[in-house]
Structures are given as structure tokens and as C-alpha cells.
Amino acid sequence: MTAETELDPVIHAPARLRVVVTLATLRDGDNLSFTRLQELLGLTPGNLITHLRKLEDAGYVTTVKSGSGVASRTSVSLSPQGRKALDNYTAVLRQLLDSASADGTSPQ
């Protein structure tokens, strides 16, 4: 297994990073409603849908719609692949920060 050295571009965007970190706070087997996620992140519905679609395409999140009409609920959860991607991302981030502080440089 090779160590990752680059930040995952799917996650490396402020809004998507916040989505993934927020969903990672939930326990395995839990999901969060779209409206609560939107409220927590302060994103517009359209913006959140766009970011969720990118994360879903990468296999990092799963969205499930249940019910119909006013009782409909869209729930979002982080997939095991998404949790692993976030772990890798934070590990690479830590590595970059450590090497930058060792070199006295500012990583971009």
C-alpha cells in the first residue's frame, strides 16, 4: 500500500470538506437530514445539492429519499469509502503541515 501524498481534490474544497467532516461526526449507521445539514453549513439548497452530487459521484456520501409530499425526507450519510477518504485527507494534511513547520515554509 502506498502512502497518499496529495490532498484529495474531491474533498479539498471548503464546502465539501465541511460536509464530509460534519457527516463524519455521526456514528456508523447514522444519517443526517438534508435540511439539518443545510442549516449547519449555512449553504443554499442548490449549492448543497451540487456539492453532495460531487461527493456522491466519488462514492463518499449516500443520499436516500424517503416518504412523499410534505412527509418526504432526504437523508445523507458518509459511506465507509468517504470516511476512509477523510482519514487519508487529514493524514496528508498533517504531513504537509508537519513538513512545512520543519522547513519553516508555508505550504499552499
Binding site: 470538506l17 467532516v21 460534519t22 455521526l26 447514522d30 439539518r36 449547519l40 505550504p107
Partner: protein, 207 residues
Amino acid sequence: MLEDQDMSVQEAAAVVRDARVRAREELVISTPLVYMAWGLVWLIGYGAMWLSVRGQHPYTGPSGVSIAAVFVLAGFAIAAVLVIASKAAAGIGGQSVRQRRIIGSTWAIGYLILLITAPAVSSSVSARTLALISFAGPVVLAGLTYILAAALGRDRPALAAGAWLVIVGTSCAWLAPAAILATCALAGGGALLLMAVIETRLRAHDS
């Protein structure tokens, strides 16, 4: 927030940190507050009952005022825990919702059994046995509920708290009624307050 906005590594680290802190504040039940609420109820409630029986010869039981105070305090604690839990759980679905229902109903059914059992057996058992059921019973029940919560949620601090409360409640079998109340107040309520401090530190460390 802009789509695919470029971020430096430092900015990304700050986003991760801030999002994690906010998500934990909003989505995770504040266990330190829950421990503190019940710790205070036990320390003050059992303490008040102990003060009312201290020096009784023969033992006749806690005063009506101290018993009423316990029920009022417990009512406040239940309301506080429900508010804390429902605020954090809003919008969350899945396994932990089912687990919370199991834990909550186990505690409620157990407590109901104690509330029914104690008056039902009061005329046929000794004052010491009645004190054991009425005062140490809720402590053992809370301990078993914490152990159940720990088993379902893989929560080691809750396991430690639960095991300690079971030990405290069981050890009351060898004590006189007044000593049972003092033990439940100090070793039970005190332990829950200590757990509030430990959980606060663990959460600060995790952040």
C-alpha cells in the same frame, strides 16, 4: 461559499477544525451536562434525605419535604436531558436513534418497576430492605443503563461509570438506611459529577 474555492493547507486545517467543533457542539449529546444534571440531583436529593434521617432513633424514613425535593429535582433533570438529547438528535436518523430508544425505555421501565415495587412491599419488608430497594435500586438501575449504553455505543467512560454505580448500589446491601443515603449521595452523585469533569476533558482533548 464559492464552489471549489482554492484553499491553502492552513486554511484546510482550519476548516476541518472549525467544522469538527461545530458538528460536535450541534450533533453530539453533551454527556458532561447529562452527568452533571444527574450528579446534582443525587448529591442534593440523597443528601437532603440523609440530613432528614440523620440521628433518627429508630429510623422512620426521610421527611416528606426531602422526598418531594428529590422528585422535583429528578423532574428537572429528566426535562433537561430530554431537551439536550432532542436538540442534538434533531435531523439524525439511523442506528443511534434506535439505540437511544432502547436505552431510554430500559431506564424508564426499570424506574417504573421500582416506583411500583417499593410501596407494594413496604408493609412486608424491613425498613432497611425498603431503603435498599428505594434508594440503592435507582443507583443500580442507572449503573446497568450506563453499561447498556456503553455496550451499544462502545463508550468506555459510560462503562466505567456504570460499573462503579452497580458496585456502589450493591455495596449498600451491607449498610444501614442512613448510610445508604450518604453513600448514594457521595459515591453515586459524586461519581457522576466526576464523570462530568472527565467527559469535559476527554472532549477538549478530542478537539
